[in-house]
Amino acid sequence: MASQGMSERTRARLFPRPKASRPRLPELEQPAPGPAAHLARVRRILAASVGGTPLAPPDPAPRREPLLALMQRITQGFHPAEYERAKALGYEAYLEEQLAPLSIDDSDLESRLVRFTTLQASPKELFEGYATDFTRPYHELKVAALARSVESKRQLYERMCEFWNDHFSIDHNKGDTEWMLLPEFDRTVIRPHALGSFPAMLTASAFSGAMLYYLDNWLNVRGAAQENYARELMEVHTLGVHGGYHESDVYEVAKCFTGWTLEDDPNSPDWMRGKFDASLHQPGRKFLLAHEVTDLTHIRRPGVPLANSEAQQVLDILAAHPSTAEFLAHKLIRWFLTPTPPPDLVARTAQAYTATNGDIKAMLRVILARENFAFTSPVLGRKFRRPFHYVVSLARALDGRLKLPREPVPVPADMLALLEDMGHVPFDHPQPDGYPDTVEAWGVAPLPRWTFASVILRESGRLPGLFQISSENLRARLGFLADPADRPGLAERMNELFFGRALSPYETRALQAFIDGHASPLDDEGFYDALSLGACMPGFQWF
């Protein structure tokens, strides 16, 4: 496997060990200059403002006007410039623009990503170029996902690509082969269909080399059929585990997919892509969910494409099934609106799917309707940022740009190492259900998030693989030009301009108290210290 770790030296810098010989700080009761006085002051300010009661009732979710609420949910993170642009367009026009990604000029990012040539390569080209060391393609796929999420103007589209890459989750680390198949999967299965037709995406995924390899169908042959793909196809790609299928259906679908394998001719440009081998196909009648699947495989008629007959029928039956519509509706509502999707909205979204034969945009128009983002909307619940979203949101807020190397060397993996500590490296989920999307899953490991907030700010100029940010730019955006004259109201401006008003009034006051009490000048280190504290606060963990 390719290395994605950082050096011990880098580690030591990112995760400093406190010096054992450091003197103890004075007790709180005897305020002295320096950190203890700072802490005492922070506490006095907090105590004066709310009584300082620990374990107070939770802060309520912030109330946002509908367009801001929509922006928070359909982008990979708030940015004030994007918000201003959206306001100029208005709610409906902004949403329609984001639903039509090709209408949005993204040439700046695309021209920067051109140097990631492995994103465009076929499995054969990747094998020929990188079989001995696949670090470069391995890193480029993951880093491209980060760069696109941060910098693309097609924000809803990137959010949907992330959603579908989880839905059709494939582990980049499977066996010795997946690394050369997954770039093509992202390029030809996920990205062309992310806002298009679900049945088309399902079909493309089923016959892709990456999926055939990942769920072992390339080895599924006549005789005792093998069930891996068949089961996950129904459980996680279409019907859902309670979608009404039985064990016998799993076995029938497995038989329908026998013979779907990989092109093994090393001279073929389609090497390691999906192909059908009729000689490996299980003959005989097959049934799925009370449908008979018609066996055309052994009927030889000129001009009739035999290759995908049974498998395609299976996919058509599953894509058209009401359980699939409901499963996708439920999952998309969770993704955009609330951890607890209300049944009537699920039903309406599923109806849109069925009425349009699986048009993803039609579902999104129901989910993203203005009424769902109103102040009083009962269907808008708090969403906890997954680590990837947290990382990308913070980078976006700070105008981060991923530093891409000029030479086609492997892109440095510092960002990936930080994401690894958070357990959320793109394309690395080890099981076919995709990374979870719940606060229960992600909410009990705050420290790696706090570390990231500190590292992205403090190390941005020093570590080559991180998002680059500019303190001059950030200071100018905040109007923080003269310290300490510009300190008053700084936390409020950070909240407004960087955090999308995610911090509660209480948190904003705490941040301001930290800034006010800071003994030394707010040079870059002090400024970043304050900013990272804001990003560590509870408010910014939700969106």
Binding site: L39, G223, A510
Partner: protein, 420 residues
């Protein structure tokens, strides 16, 4: 095999763990004496007097018929003509355990604790509901309430039951980026992906102030986020245990993999005695529908890594046998008969392991149901010992909880002599 960049053995002068240095940033305790806004801090070593429960969850459905081969059951060789491990004495044959069961050759390191009577194997065991879905099985099994509606983890409910005995801010640790469902809803449970890096980031001069502000603001955040943040601040540096310099005892050699690091750190954590009552970790990759590789392939590689890590932990902890009880479980076994992909699909009954000082080891505990077609459960090994009987016996006998109803509701415990 998942390698990690800091899993190598670190040379150091001391032979044992030294939780000597009170960490400078240990929960901000230096400033306030004991608390930051009411959160208890890690301080002096403490103990609940009970062994630490360790769960190693084998994700993906571990093939118990390969790992612990019922070579005495002739039906096995009809069901798996190419994949079954041959009987002892054959080329690549099983390592005999009791005249009926044998270990896969790749699992040979388990013979060390087994031979010492400290490792028990329970076979034809598992989750007695018919699901063959990984994700449904995780939910049912880890909740400990497959027939009911409880979705908190069974281990969480155990921790709640004995909450009064502990003041530690970190009572359970998943050495992972996320907690397993086993610990869903647990009090004072944290996911800590690497114990050696549990340190507060950023400028040292403002470290305590930022910790105080974080504690204060998170005390107003909803569960589980608020509590986890407070526990994190209170438990920073994990009592000053120096995981990097930890040297295993008795010449134990952990694999230089993520699992090896997790087990090594678990040993250091237990010896450091900071009040942690449960540790969990996952070891995945067992979903081998195709190309099982029981002798030289994928399955053998997984067993090799797993059992070397378990053996190293056993040797390292020889002087602390009563300080832990380790269970190694999977969501289900695999289909009794092989498929045409040289693999095995999702199955049912399975083998699990229990290791520790008060384990009635050196035996395979089983009511072997047989493998003839008429006794298979939908083509798979039947379950004759409910996994909750094994866990329940451990909780009752070794952890001292007489009433198991809150932990495994709607289950009547049948003990199988797993503990002494």
């Amino acid at each position: 095999m998942k390698h990690c960049d800091d899993c190598g053995e670190t040379p150091a002068s001391s032979r044992s763990i030294r939780p000597s240095r009170r960490a400078f940033l240990g929960g901000a305790a230096t400033l306030t004496g004991a608390t930051v806004f009411g959160a208890p801090a890690l301080g002096a070593p403490r103990t609940t007097g009970k062994p630490v429960l360790i769960q190693v969850f084998l994700r993906g459905g571990m093939d118990g018929l390969t790992t612990v081969v019922p070579y005495g059951d002739a039906d096995l060789y009809a069901l798996r003509p190419t994949l079954a491990i041959p009987p002892p004495g054959s080329v690549d044959g099983a390592l005999d355990l009791d005249g009926f069961f044998g270990l896969a050759p790749a699992a040979a390191p388990l013979l060390t604790p087994y031979g010492d009577g400290r490792l028990a194997i329970v076979h034809a065991s598992g989750l007695a509901v018919p699901t063959r879905s990984h994700f449904e099985a995780y939910t049912d099994m880890e909740s400990g309430d497959p027939s009911g509606g409880l979705r908190t983890g069974w281990l969480s409910r155990y921790l709640i039951e004995v909450a009064g005995l502990s003041t530690s801010p970190v009572r359970a640790i998943g050495i992972e980026p996320r907690l397993p469902l086993t610990l869903l809803g647990a009090p004072n449970a944290l996911a800590i992906p690497n114990l050696a890096r549990f340190r507060f980031p950023g400028v040292l001069d403002t470290s305590l102030i930022r910790q105080a502000i974080i504690s204060d603001t998170y005390s107003r955040a909803s569960a589980p986020v608020g509590a986890a943040a407070l526990d994190t601040i209170a438990a920073l540096n994990l009592g000053g245990i120096d995981f990097g310099a930890y040297v295993p005892e008795n010449g134990a050699q952990y694999p230089t993999t993520v699992l090896g690091r997790q087990m090594r750190h678990t040993a250091a954590l237990i010896k450091g005695n900071i009040g942690v009552e449960a540790v969990t970790m996952d070891f995945g990759g067992f979903d081998l529908h195709a190309l099982l590789g029981p002798i030289h392939g994928a399955m053998a590689a997984l067993l090799d890594e797993l059992t070397r890590a378990l053996e190293a932990f056993y040797l390292d902890m020889l002087g602390h046998l009563d300080d832990y009880v380790l269970v190694c479980v999977s969501e289900f076994g695999r289909r009794a008969f092989e498929n045409a992909s040289e693999g095995v699909d999702h199955g049912h009954g399975n083998a699990l392991f229990v290791m520790g000082g008060r384990v009635n080891g050196g035996q395979v505990i089983a009511n072997w149901p047989g493998l003839s077609p008429d006794v298979l459960a939908d083509g798979d090994v039947a379950i004759t010992i409910d996994y909750r009987d094994v866990l329940g016996e451990i909780v009752q006998e070794l952890l001292g909880i007489a009433d198991l109803a809150p932990i495994f509701p709607q289950h009547t415990l049948i003990k199988h002599g797993v503990t002494t």
